[in-house]
């Protein structure tokens, strides 16, 4: 290609820019492709009352799932908080399950366009405003992620990340 021809191609490409920009009225990256629920449980072998009088009981099915995993097996479980936030196509989003506290924060972002069987997300766990964990996880159907987290009041916090609508996760 001669130099003059190359310049003509470039000029034509640049002249096309404004038309594309004008047609881009809506941001497809803000499309909601799912919902993510983050739930925090208090798990302890001691007195469950340490979680506070307002902490509620955990669903029976959920307790069974937790107890079925040796590392998550405790005598008592209590529900401390949860948060469901939209999963955007291109943007990250945050869940704050213990609001108004920001002690536990989860940042998530879609890796692929979700299918009915699986949703692949990038995930970060922040504790006390510090990033503790960064990972990618595939959530799907009734398949959540459990993170055995920090100690608190003689027990541990368990952070569950799931797709909103999973029946036995909360």
């Amino acid at each position: 290609m001669t130099r003059r021809a190359g310049l003509a191609v470039l000029a034509a490409a640049l002249c096309g820019l404004p038309a594309h920009l004008a047609s881009a009225a809506e941001d497809p990256g803000k499309t909601i492709v799912g919902e993510v629920t983050v739930t925090v449980y208090y798990a302890s072998d001691g007195d469950a009352a340490a979680a506070g009088a307002k902490a509620t009981a955990v669903a029976k099915a959920m307790e069974k799932r937790l107890r079925n995993t040796e590392k998550l097996r405790f005598k008592q479980y209590r529900l401390l908080g949860d948060d469901t936030q939209p999963l955007f196509r291109s943007y990250e989003n945050w869940a704050r399950p213990l609001k108004p506290s920001e002690e536990v924060l989860v940042k998530f972002e879609a890796r692929n366009h979700p299918t009915p069987q699986a949703t692949h997300i990038d995930l970060e766990l922040w504790l006390s405003h510090k990033k503790i964990l960064k990972t990618d996880v595939v959530l799907g159907g009734d398949h959540p992620l459990f993170v055995l987290g920090p100690e608190w009041r003689g027990g541990r916090l368990i952070i569950a990340v799931s797709l909103a609508g999973e029946k036995n996760v909360r």
Partner: protein, 202 residues
Amino acid sequence: MPHETYLARWLDDDLDGTELNAFEASFHPGSPLLAQRQARREWRSTLAAAIPAAVELPYPEFFNHRLAKTIREFQDSPPPAHQPSPLPAPGFWRVWWMPVTALAGMGLAFWAGTQTASVTRGLPLANPPPPAVALHRPTVYIPEHGVDAEWFTSADADAAVIVLEGVEPIPDSLDFSESVGEITTDNLTAASENSEPLEVTQ
């Protein structure tokens, strides 16, 4: 100053006064360099007419988001093991062609970006399917020193599990009573329906 540098500046009409006179005295009036300079001037005029003075980004929030993410990832990544040796001084042709090549690349990249929904052999390139739940092995990164993570899948719980050890405890003085008050109705319903204690098999 090297001859090539003078030549580049002359082609850009960046020489004046004594420098301009001295440089133009070094070649004859019929030199092909005059044609090159004229072509360069026409090229600049073409660009000035084609590129608007100010262009609004199509999705400024998206670009800012991606830019911030890239910066964070760059800051998270470990520093290189050694500093690369400094690049040699750019020659005349590099000085001349680098901006042209960069502009051409920008134009072509933007055009390619508009074609991301295209389909090749029946597979949509923009939306590869996520991996299967059971087969996926995640990448786990722990930025904090002293914190360990163990990942495994629990068939009994039908879940992926990450066990963190060495995390700084949350102060007992922190109270999450207010967050309990914000639990969704679904949770409260599920909890009240299943609040009978389970047999502990520890």
